[in-house]
Amino acid sequence: MNEQATLKSKEDMTQDDIRNFEIRDYLRLDLFPHFMCPGCGHGIALRALLWAIHAQGIDKDKLAIVSGIGCSGRVGTYIDANTYHTTHGRPLAFATGLKMARPDLHVVVITGDGDCLAIGGNHLIHAARRNLDITCLMLNNEIYGMTGGQVSPTTPADRFTTTTPAGNMEPVFDACRLAEAAGAGYVGREVTIHLPRLRDIIAEGLAYKGFSFIEVMSDCTEVNGRKNDLGSSPEMVLGQTRAMRPSEYDNNVVDHPFRPNSMNTGVLVRSNRPEYGTSYRNMVDKVQALQQKGQK
């Protein structure tokens, strides 16, 4: 139970790993159709995650999905795996306990902008600092959707929400830079329309030994889109590409659709900081060796 889960590097993933993907193998079909609104980007993000999981050949029995509260928190429910729908803002803390106790599990956290950056902000920075082998997928739809559309830490300036009737005046968080500054070993960001890229970024994050933070720019078509005239569902999805600048995959630097010149997509950080779980277990081995010596 104590051996650590290992995964394929990007180079080792074959075309077949990626191609033979049937999403329904990974879903709890009796719960469908899911509860999300028409056009909600979270569904696309979920596909990318499951595809990455498939490409990595992760055994569903060994997969633990930990989520918080909000629309993002409900996404995990639909995955046919060990799913934990925990409390608001705390999935990273739950996941930390779970991963430390069960290093053989692949622990993936699904969280949202409010869950991860507002109520759970402290857990994000400390999970990043610890660099424990967890993959954190933050679905950023720039709004509190489930509670009816209140302003969130990533709501762009001047957006109308139910709690900013005159437009948002608060500045936003750049979650990736936050995670990077706090020490996350792997940081990436992608929009949902670039599904294959998103899949690859997640797949690499899953394989990364350490804390991987992936921000998915997702559309909230109902409460965010409608209130701000962001267009129909397809228009919102397309809106993501319009402002994208194509470039080579790995070092692409692309302006964020809603915040020109401030946000990049792609893999933003890859470092080889020590993974906390491994360091901890090494310490345990040393302590136990010393103890045995003492007993002899």
Binding site: P33, M36, G39, R245
Partner: protein
Amino acid sequence: MTKINKVMKATTQPAVRTAVEKLNPDTAKEPINVLIVGVGGQGVIMVSKVLAQICQNLGYQVKQSEVHGMAKRGGVVFSHVRFGQNVWSPTIPMGKADVLIALEWAEGLRWMNYLRPDTGIFIADTKRIVPPFACRSRILGADIGYSKNTPSDVREKVAEAFAIDATEMATKAGNERAANTLLLGALSTTLSFPDDEWKNVIGKMVPPKTIEVNLAVFDKGQVWINRSRKGEPVEGGAFVPLVQPEINSVRTELSITPEWCKGCDICVKMCPERCLVLNKDQVAELAEPEKCTGCHICEWLCPDFAISLKPIHQEAVA
């Protein structure tokens, strides 16, 4: 990036014209139209500026209008250059371009219908810039999304066609970015302007350090066209078209789970072939199955997992 097989000997032998008439604004009744197309960052604007400058220097009226495709790197950029005794409209009507210079192969193909069907001259770099995901080939199993037209296909559609591996040649000559000057050399063979004038203007337009290499590749471009017009072998000729792998013959079958569909319209609007519609119950339906290429875009972007595409293997079909 995907590899593209290239052979270094000429395989494109354009139809040999008996007498090559150069386009001369002094004698032409209408303005001469040169269309320059490419992808952002390649230097389309530089090429058209050089041409426009020469025309100005030689005392012709010139109009140059350019469109940067939404100003994005990698997006479409094109420039219309019209010159002659009198030029009124700044844009070239479809089917009226005398010369089409394409700095990128697929862009060249895309603009081909602007050429005069009887006398148009097509000069294209065989360089391929693969566009981002949304524009890629949507056939299942296609390695890259890219036009499969080969230079010989093109030759049938225009009066004269030249597919030069200009980027490769320029790289060999010492500067990849000089590929557009090489194409200017090729262009110069079609116009009546004196070589000195070309070289003079190019020398002023390019960075001082690269003047030498640019002038060298300008000559190469001229030589390349002249030789290939005579049917002589040339350096950096056209490429062998990409052979699509076996898997491309896989067809797909699309199925929609109506109970899961929430009618968000994403698949309908995102399908590049426009084969899906929302029916009267606001549920997606495959209206034109024969048009479906099996590209998966609808499947991938359906937030409700209502669409699934399954490959039908060739054996099963047969």
